[in-house]
């Protein structure tokens, strides 16, 4: 506790009272708090925190808001993307807000609700479900999320169900007086053969610094297919932490796209466990770090079963004093023969002051595998710029075109056209 108090993280632990919670839930919080007390704060000597300092975050004095907060409808409308047709689910400061969410009915086999609703309807299922994807691998901030766990959202898609309309989860962090910290928890489970698209968006309201510390647990049963688009467009004052824990059963397929555009300091940790044969995990990402931004990605991909495939493809554009960290690890366990893993990371540096630190690691304990990784850091090819300039395009526009071209490899993987258009215009603005 002392380390937390010293670091000024104690106000994070002030959670909104979710009403009566059962003993097992209390116990989870207590255990999380206990392990936090035995751990030091993440520091630069820790391998995964080598390039990332916590100081800026600690200096802000974030506090968990005690009062529930409902943003005015007009502000909420401004956050929506025109033309994006989804079933909307809104979390405000980590609490599910049904009154802001879509009310259109979903098929019966989809069960969606706040954790408090689940607690009332099916406490046994929730008890078995919560935390299974994390499986003892909880990072420091995941434990912090766990220790204050009050509410969140859980989505259960029944066996064989195919949902055409994407589900859209909007995370809003906002507070009135003190800089707020929200610690949302999102659970997603697809039963065997289910298929769906989930769009997760992190957005900021207002200009005050905010902090989000999200934990997302995703589990895919046999042959389930999930397309997961995670889009972070918070303000340049925002601090963002998110830990995704993904577990895949045999034959399941996960396609994840990470877009990181906002945030002064944003750290994303992706933990993937391929525990059934022939599971497939495709992860791609784009980060655009402008002046004063730090975008930090950590991937931990474990091939635990044979014949799984994973593909990690991350691209970054850095300008101003923007910084990015890409730390990826692929582990192939002894049993995971016939694994196929490819990790690539490409960075485009646009300014003198930008910095990128990349660390793509392979840990291979099986021999019959195909694993590779590649990293590049470079600037815009003068020849390409010349080509466009020679055709009468002014320098700034030419650079923007080339950057959008570089980004398009990832953006084009987004399924919805209006969302793609929205992202292109945000990137265009950010590049100036």
């Amino acid at each position: 506790m002392n380390a937390l108090l010293d670091a000024g993280l104690a106000p994070w632990l002030r959670a909104i009272d979710p009403g009566p919670i059962p003993a097992w839930w209390q116990e989870r919080r207590r255990r999380a708090l206990e392990s936090l007390q035995t751990r030091p704060l993440p520091h630069s000597k820790e391998e995964s925190w080598r390039y990332t300092s916590l100081n800026a975050l600690l200096d802000q004095g974030f506090t968990a808001p005690v009062q529930p907060f409902t943003p005015p409808p007009a502000e909420l409308d401004a956050l929506l993307i025109p033309g994006l047709d989804t079933h909307r689910l809104v979390l405000v400061n980590g609490c599910f807000a049904p009154e802001l969410s879509s009310s259109t009915p979903l098929p019966e086999a989809v069960r969606i609700g706040g954790l408090s609703n689940w607690l009332a309807d099916d406490p046994d299922l929730l008890e078995d479900w919560l935390g299974t994807a994390i499986d003892g691998k909880a990072a420091f901030f995941t434990l912090l999320n766990e220790a204050t766990l009050a509410d969140g959202l859980a989505i259960w898609v029944g066996r064989g169900l195919v949902i055409e309309q994407p589900l859209e989860v909007i995370h809003i962090c906002s507070g009135q007086a003190e800089p707020p910290v929200a610690q949302p928890r999102l659970l997603v489970h697809l039963e065997a053969g289910a298929q769906t698209t989930l769009i997760e968006r992190y957005v900021g309201l207002g200009k005050t610094p905010t902090c989000t510390n999200a934990v997302i647990e995703v589990s895919l049963a046999r042959d389930a297919v999930l397309r997961h688009e995670r889009i972070q467009t918070e303000s340049n004052q925002a601090f963002h932490l998110s830990g995704l824990y993904l577990v895949q059963d045999p034959g399941s397929r996960y396609q994840g796209i990470q877009i990181g555009l906002g945030g002064r300091w944003a750290r994303t940790e992706l933990n993937v466990r391929l525990q059934g044969p022939h599971a497939e995990c495709l992860l791609s990402g784009l980060y655009v770090a402008g002046d004063g931004q730090l975008l930090d990605y950590h991937l931990d991909i474990e091939h635990r079963a044979p014949a799984c495939r994973s593909l990690e493809h991350f691209k970054g554009i850095l300008s101003g004093r923007g910084r990015a960290v890409f730390d990826g690890r692929v582990l192939v366990a002894r049993a995971a023969q016939k694994s196929d893993a490819t990790m690539t990371n490409r960075n485009l540096m646009l300014s003198e002051e930008a910095e990128v630190d990349a660390k793509p690691q392979l840990e291979i304990n099986a021999d019959d595998v195909q694993c590779s990784h590649g990293t590049t850091v470079g600037q815009i090819e003068p020849e390409l710029l010349f080509y466009l300039r020679a055709r009468g395009i002014e320098a700034r526009l030419a650079r923007r075109i080339l950057c959008l071209g570089f980004a398009s490899e990832i953006i084009d993987q987004i399924a919805d056209e209006s969302l793609r258009g929205h992202l292109n215009s945000v990137i265009g603005q950010r590049l100036g």
């Binding site: 540096m349 646009l350 300014s351 003198e352 910095e355 660390k359 840990e363 291979i364 694993c371 850091v377």
Partner: protein, 481 residues
Amino acid sequence: MSGSPAFEGIVKSDYEHGFVTEIESDTLPPGLNEEVIRTISRRKAEPEFMTEYRLKAYRHWLSMQEPRWAFVDHPPIDFQAISYYSAPKHLKEGPKSLDEIDPALLETYNKLGIPLEEQKVLAGIAVDAVFDSVSVATTFRETLAQAGVIFCSISEALRTYPDLVRQYLGSVVPYTDNFYACLNAAVFSDGTFVYIPKGVRCPLELSTYFRINARNTGQFERTLIIADVGSYVSYLEGCTAPQSDENQLHAAVVELIALDDAEIKYSTVQNWYPGDAEGRGGIYNFVTKRGDCRGARSKISWTQVETGSAITWKYPSCILRGEGSVGAFYSVAVTKGRQQADTGTKMIHLGRHTRSTIVSKGISTGWGRQTYRGLVRVAQRAQGARNHTQCDSLLIGDRCSANTVPYIEVKNPTARVEHEATTSKISEDQLFYCRARGLNAEDAVSMIVNGFCKEVFNELPMEFAVEAQKLLSISLEGAIG
């Protein structure tokens, strides 16, 4: 392919160079304290500043922690159980020619295939052979002296050229650098000193054979090579060690300094005793090697073939300080049995238009565990820096492992950094192709592996390339299956 009995016999092939030469050694009792350090310094008749330097390093070492971050396991090392000085007794006065050398010693070298007297005539290589800790023979002094090249043991250099040593020793690897480098600075026994004067192209390939002989003697070699403006030198280092049941610690430090337009080519074939099939015995090879491209357009290249040692832990690095300087690292590492290797390089780009190339080939068999760990750093001032890194791992057998841990840190937009890595096994197609042409499985594998390593072998001097290929085939014998 696995379980094929065809290779069983060769798997158990014993370490060829496992023999102990019975020579009386003048060895200090095990243990380390300031008195031991003073004794080492006194016996070597070192100047005062050196004794002080050693003591400073020792005091700093006491405050340091043994590093734990490498992917290697070994029982804790008892630094008080090691004897820090061992000199073959018969050599106290120092030999004037080969005739004065103990015949038993010469026999050892003959078994290793480096007959000094023959080399003098045939190979044209000057050999500064290190038998345990004191240099025993130096050949071709005259040829080198004519060119103005200084090639001698570091103890001799300390006595003869104290100012030169004082100017450069510890300027690339300061004693505060890391735990083992610090220990080395305190207790280093002997090593090699090379100085190539301005504009001189060293007429011979310089070579040192290291050999750990007396049991229980840690070897702490210190090598210092200075290439003055516009000079060139190629330096060869090779090691074999006799079979021994105790783990032996080898913590060497190598410092290279290249001034304007100078080039240093440093090649290593490392074949220390790797331990028996269960991983008992074997050398711990914890080495700090670093080159400093201090001058503009200077060039340093490291080429290594690592087949021996129970644990190898080394990262030959280049600090590319001078404008337009070039660094290169070519490595083949083989781990079999219970061997562990955590090796790689660091390329620190500080100057403008600096370039570096990294080619690392890892082959892991049996229970072998191998890690490539590398750092490419481009500082903000390093305009137009360029790096290409390629590290490939080949896995043979399902109990070995290969890890790749590259760090890439770029702070300049004009830098171009590329990193590629692959891990795979020998493909059935390649094997089938060779087998269909009448090669037996083992020759086929040997051929494929040699092809895999070719990029690195091409960088070795001729004599070493042949030796390295032979060593590789011997290492892989029986490991396949």
